[in-house]
């Protein structure tokens, strides 16, 4: 039983790949790689969450190819494209915001973060108009007008509302998270030496963008 001795901590190169040279005193020290691993794992769960819906989409698109094409025409391509560009741009400003804080440029970072938030809002506003317009035309879940269409089209809009709805929910969550980050930035809780929070929020935001990159062709570009 004496095989494990208690010794002074040994130097880092004696440890294996990722194990931190962890000793009692450094216990409370921030482990940034650890935090990032945690964040990525969380992103995978998000990916698989949407994965389930994409799977359903694949099955139904195969089953109802023609209905999907017809129903797809009803979506507004211009709004979809504009929203794609907005979201991509917000991703850019997000990345730039992190790049700025890495270089210690706090004000620039704040500026970029605010623009990200504004872009996110713009995305939601457009989404709102898109949905309400559909609703006015009677294309809403369980609305008699939609129910009178063929099954494939009902399913198309079912998928459309579920997937873009879930995505929009993620945008809203992202918005809240980013607002907190803004607050932290202003309070200097995020700074040149400690910006892992902002980085992780950025990762989340890019994932939201990533999902949209696939949603866009699957719903708006059907022909």
């Amino acid at each position: 039983m004496e095989k494990i001795e208690l010794r002074e901590p040994i130097s880092a190169n004696q440890t294996n790949d990722l194990a931190v040279n962890q000793v009692a005193e450094t216990h409370h020290h921030k482990d940034e790689v650890g935090a990032k691993i945690g964040m990525w794992l969380f992103l995978f769960t998000e990916l698989l969450l949407f994965g389930g819906l994409f799977l359903l989409y694949m099955a139904y698109r195969l089953q109802y190819t023609n209905d999907f094409i017809i129903a797809g025409q009803e979506l507004n391509l211009v709004m979809g494209t504009v929203n794609t560009i907005i979201l991509l741009t917000s991703s850019l400003t997000m990345a730039l915001s992190i790049a700025a804080i890495q270089r210690g440029k706090k004000n620039l970072s704040i500026l970029f973060l605010i623009s990200t938030i504004l872009f996110a809002l713009a995305f939601l506003v457009i989404k709102y108009f898109e949905w309400t317009e559909k609703f006015h035309h009677g294309i809403a879940p369980n609305a008699p007008e939609l129910l009178s269409k063929p099954n494939g089209e009902i399913i198309f809009f079912g998928m459309y509302y579920s997937m873009t709805g879930l995505h929009a929910l993620h945008v809203v969550i992202g918005l809240i998270v980013l607002s907190f980050m803004l607050f932290f930035l202003l309070r200097n809780r995020i700074n040149e030496n400690d910006y892992i929070k902002l980085e992780n929020s950025g990762l989340y935001w890019h994932l939201v963008d990533l999902i949209w990159i696939f949603l866009f062709p699957l719903f708006y570009l059907i022909h």
């Binding site: 990722l18 990032k36 990525w40 799977l55 089953q63 890495q102 890019h206 570009l221």
Partner: protein, 95 residues
């Protein structure tokens, strides 16, 4: 980022370049969708989407410059996702 080691910094310019490519790819895919490529239209659109997502993941999410472990993780997640798609296909494509 082990202690003392500086993180890899990506220049503003790179980000803007990536963004420009993303926008062009978006416009490309929208334009193409106007042309009728029949059955492979979906395939083309997905390939473009895939290229876009690789750009986002590599640069915006700077996986390209992160430790190997992260790349391995992503591989695990993608393999998982791919396998549920492929295995479900054995049902829906053969009904």
């Amino acid at each position: 980022m082990e202690q003392g080691q500086k993180p890899h910094l990506i220049t503003y310019g790179t980000y803007v370049l990536v963004w420009l490519s993303l926008i062009s790819l978006t416009l490309l895919t929208v334009t193409i969708s106007g042309v009728d490529y029949g059955r492979i239209a979906l395939f083309i659109a997905l390939v473009i989407a895939f290229v876009k997502s690789v750009l986002v993941v590599s640069y915006f999410m700077h996986i390209k410059f992160d430790e190997a472990i992260f790349k391995f993780f992503i591989l695990v997640a993608l393999v998982t996702l791919a396998s549920i798609f492929i295995l479900t296909s054995t049902d829906i494509f053969f009904r």
